[in-house]
């Protein structure tokens, strides 16, 4: 299945892209996250991953199809074909 990741702020700077499609072999967010870490390395990993708790950082908002997801364990977050996913840092309006 194909999902799309939207990049904002630091994520846009790291990836050099506004959005990007990935083909996943299973339907959990953990699969997508492994691909992202493989492709973009520690820069991206350090931004979103809490290595101690082995979860997504508490301050990162996970958005799927424009809806915030409150779960931080990516192995129990389901994706579907066509899902859009974004990881958001805390906001800072002008």
């Amino acid at each position: 299945m194909i999902v799309e990741v939207l990049y904002f702020a630091e994520f846009k700077d790291i990836t050099g892209k506004e959005k990007e499609k990935f083909e996943l072999s299973d339907n959990h967010l953990s699969d997508l996250i492994s691909l992202l870490f493989k492709k973009y390395g520690d820069n991206l990993r350090n931004l979103i991953w809490d290595g101690k708790l082995q979860k997504i950082h508490n301050l990162i908002s996970v958005i799927i199809n424009n809806q915030p997801i409150h779960e931080k364990d990516p192995s129990i977050i389901n994706l579907s074909d066509g899902s859009t996913i974004a990881f958001l840092m805390p906001v800072s309006g002008g």
Partner: protein, 150 residues
Amino acid sequence: MSGLENAKKIESGIYSKGKIDLGSIIKSIKQNSNIIEAGSIHTFTGIVRSTSKNGKPVVSMKIDAYDELANESIKKICEKLKQREGIIDVKIVHLKGEFELTESLVYVVVASAHRKEGFKTISDAVEMYKEEIAVWKREDFSNGSSEWIH
């Protein structure tokens, strides 16, 4: 008042830099059919300051936004504040793109029956958008480095 009747109606939300200015938002608010009940119009414009919060010299700024989410939050804030007694209209327009010093980043406009609730509501609107909308700013410093603010 000439021309007001033809002013473009401007919706609150995220816009690319250059697409909108404060004057056109005020004109749009003056077309609200309840505007004759207003005694004051309050505006807040956030502009690029040459110094960051911790004192570093800023030379430019970038604003990024998740339009769908930010537009939704902005509309919610405006709708909520418009329910208040004496508040005639509230508009929030946040720009995105690359900005130079003194350029405008965001406009908030409130029309109110009396000044007291206008001052209160525009201040609340600013605190709310700063907390709630999916917008990020990056400060570019004079030494060539940059930092996303959170």
